[in-house]
């Protein structure tokens, strides 16, 4: 099986590009459509009845983020435009800019292993990966796709699976560096976007062009 230059997107990358309103840049870098597993974004959990929203940990990760910003806007902890931006995921799906990838049996089995305590210790993790990260790793491994994630634990698992060999991956900082190198934005703009995602809570402490 060989790579066909497709990339599977994890929540961290998708969420922060949406929050800074630069989904256009993400699409230019990754290519249309943006692909993510159903654990990252499930179009069907957008209109669930009230009862089902009581346990947000049962929702897809992007929907959990939407719910979080809905409350943050209500309590005055976040401005409305952040909610509008993260909610854009639904419109992107409707327009075909986001595509949900279903896992096959092999991927499902691998993702389940990565979400188990046994699987975590096999890959020297303290706790298992979450459903979104596990699905991205499984799809990236089985289909030889690139993965776009800023989850260190997910990348650690892929490092071990590839036994030190290189494999295609993207992180927010790498994407911004690539965007500047491909003249999609300037280096200063890359630094500004990175500073903006950090101001929104993104945990990377580096900078694209120090």
């Amino acid at each position: 099986m060989s790579s066909d230059d497709r990339t599977i997107l994890d929540t961290s990358v998708l969420l922060y590009f949406l929050l800074v309103g630069r989904e256009d840049l993400l699409r230019a870098l990754i290519g249309d459509p943006l692909r993510c597993p159903v654990a990252v974004y499930d179009p069907d959990d957008g209109s669930l009845p009230e009862g089902a929203l009581r346990r947000s940990d049962l929702l897809s990760e992007m929907r959990q983020a939407v719910r979080h910003y809905e409350v943050a806007v209500r309590t005055g902890d976040a401005p409305t435009d952040l909610l509008d931006r993260v909610q854009l995921i639904d419109k992107m799906f409707d327009s075909g800019a986001v595509e949900v990838v279903d896992m096959d049996e092999d991927e499902l089995g691998l993702a389940a292993r990565l979400q188990s305590r046994d699987g975590a210790s096999e890959f020297s993790l303290r706790v298992p990966l979450g459903p979104g990260e596990a699905a991205c790793v499984a799809i990236a491994w089985v289909r030889k796709w690139a993965i776009a994630t800023d989850d260190e634990d997910a990348l650690k698992v892929l490092d071990l699976m590839h036994r030190g060999r290189t494999y295609p991956y993207e992180r927010i900082r790498r994407l911004l560096i690539r965007a500047a190198n491909e003249n999609l934005i300037t280096a200063d703009e890359a630094n500004e976007i990175h500073a903006e995602v950090r101001a929104l809570g993104f945990w990377d402490s580096g900078s694209p062009f120090p």
């Binding site: 961290s12 089902a52 209500r74 459903p131 101001a199 929104l200």
Partner: protein
């Protein structure tokens, strides 16, 4: 791969959920759950992970047909069997509580940070306390033990932290006749733990914390778990204890006297002042005043039926919490967790024992929710008021620092 449908049915039954419960939790019809279990439809990948989480097992247990008991399944079962007549709709909330406690214990082991949980009451206990005077004396004793004096208690969660009691909040239903207000459990690793029904009003939830402290400190040597529901001498004691603990009668009398209020209160403005001083809800203040005979039964009914306490408090210049106007359990998504747990989770991320997304999934939080715990702003740098800089300058330039 074994037949998923049969595994799904068995896992649900072991977790003591009905197909209706599962449908409600996942936002699908009961018929859809039935199709999944009959094998005519298959849950999608997200639903499969959600089912495993709901049942307290791992997705691999479903895929590999492993008959494993749900995390904390025994404790959940014991709690649910502790009281007859409890609303079956409370089961998911009780399950969530027990699963949280198991995760808390796991996090403690992972981080090597101890849970400073109380597992034995420090208070002398010789017989079942049922009398009103017992409750009053014991409330005074607990306040004295914590050096709380006789004044208002600003934050009951801090009291629980001081005592070593873990508080978790989950929805248990809003049917007053059947839904429990809360529960107490002496967890083998976490120690004294309290569950508060998130479906009840903020004032009632605060009362429930104090009520469950009463069970924890004075009934735990006889019962390892209690579901607070219905009427019994034990429940009456816990109610009396909670009232005295949050609003000590002696302290109310002193406040009434020193504020120049009449000994027989009739004016709703006085009740609002008492309520706000003790940080209690208007109904709780009114109930306490009635219990103490400071208001007559007729005044109680009149004030209960005619006063608009939030509007009145606002007109008197008191700050109003948005939840006083509209109950919003969504706001408790993060605050449902006890602060020591959130600190421990934060420590796990800071020490790089787990990545932020893994930590979010571990706790059942969104990525932005986890980020909030890490102390990161949600809304960019423009969120802080300018006055902070001005205030620092005021301190520094006037020589205070």
């Amino acid at each position: 791969m074994p037949d998923l449908h049969a595994v799904l049915a068995r896992a649900r039954e072991r977790a003591r959920y009905s197909q209706d419960d599962v449908g409600a939790a996942l936002g699908v019809s009961r018929a859809m759950v039935s199709y999944w279990e009959a094998g005519s439809r298959r849950p999608n990948d997200r639903q499969l992970a959600a089912l495993a989480r709901l049942y307290g097992i791992e997705p691999i247990d479903l895929l590999e047909d492993r008959d494993v008991d749900p995390v904390g399944g025994d404790l959940t079962g014991m709690l649910l069997r502790a009281e007859t007549g409890v609303d079956p709709a409370s089961a998911p909330g009780v399950q969530e509580f027990v699963q949280f406690l198991e995760r808390y214990a796991e996090l403690s082991r992972l981080t090597d940070l101890p849970i400073r949980g109380l597992s034995q009451s420090p208070f002398v206990y010789r017989s079942r306390f049922t009398q009103k005077d017992d409750a009053r004396r014991k409330a005074e004793e607990v306040r004295s033990h914590l050096n709380l004096g006789t004044g208002p208690i600003p934050d009951v969660d801090t009291v629980c932290e001081m005592l070593g009691v873990t508080v978790y909040r989950a929805p248990l239903g809003d049917d007053l006749g059947r839904a429990p207000s809360g529960a107490f459990l002496n967890h083998p690793e976490v120690g004294f733990s309290i569950l508060v029904n998130l479906d009840m009003t903020p004032g009632r939830r605060r009362f429930t914390v104090a009520h469950e402290i009463g069970h924890a400190l004075f009934h735990s040597s006889e019962d390892r778990w209690v579901i607070s529901h219905g009427k019994s001498p034990r429940e009456t004691f816990a109610d009396e204890f909670a009232g005295e603990f949050l609003m000590p009668s002696e302290s109310i009398r002193r406040f009434v006297e020193e504020s120049g209020m009449p000994p027989r209160i009739q004016d709703p403005v006085d009740v609002v002042h008492i309520q706000r001083y003790f940080r209690a809800s208007f109904p709780m203040a009114l109930v306490r005043l009635r219990q103490m005979n400071t208001i007559t039964a007729a005044t109680y009914r009149e004030l209960r039926d005619t006063v608009r306490p939030v509007a009145l408090a606002r007109s008197l210049g008191y700050a109003i919490d948005p939840e006083e106007v509209e109950q919003d359990s969504e706001r408790w998504r993060i605050r449902r967790f006890p602060r020591p747990f959130l600190r421990m989770l934060r420590e796990a991320v800071v020490q790089e024992l787990m990545s932020p997304p893994t930590a979010a999934s571990f706790a059942g939080l969104s990525v932005p929710g986890l980020v909030q715990i890490l102390g990161q702003p949600l809304s960019g740098v423009e969120g802080e008021p300018q006055e902070l800089t001005t205030e620092f300058a005021e301190f520094e330039e006037t020589g205070v620092v």
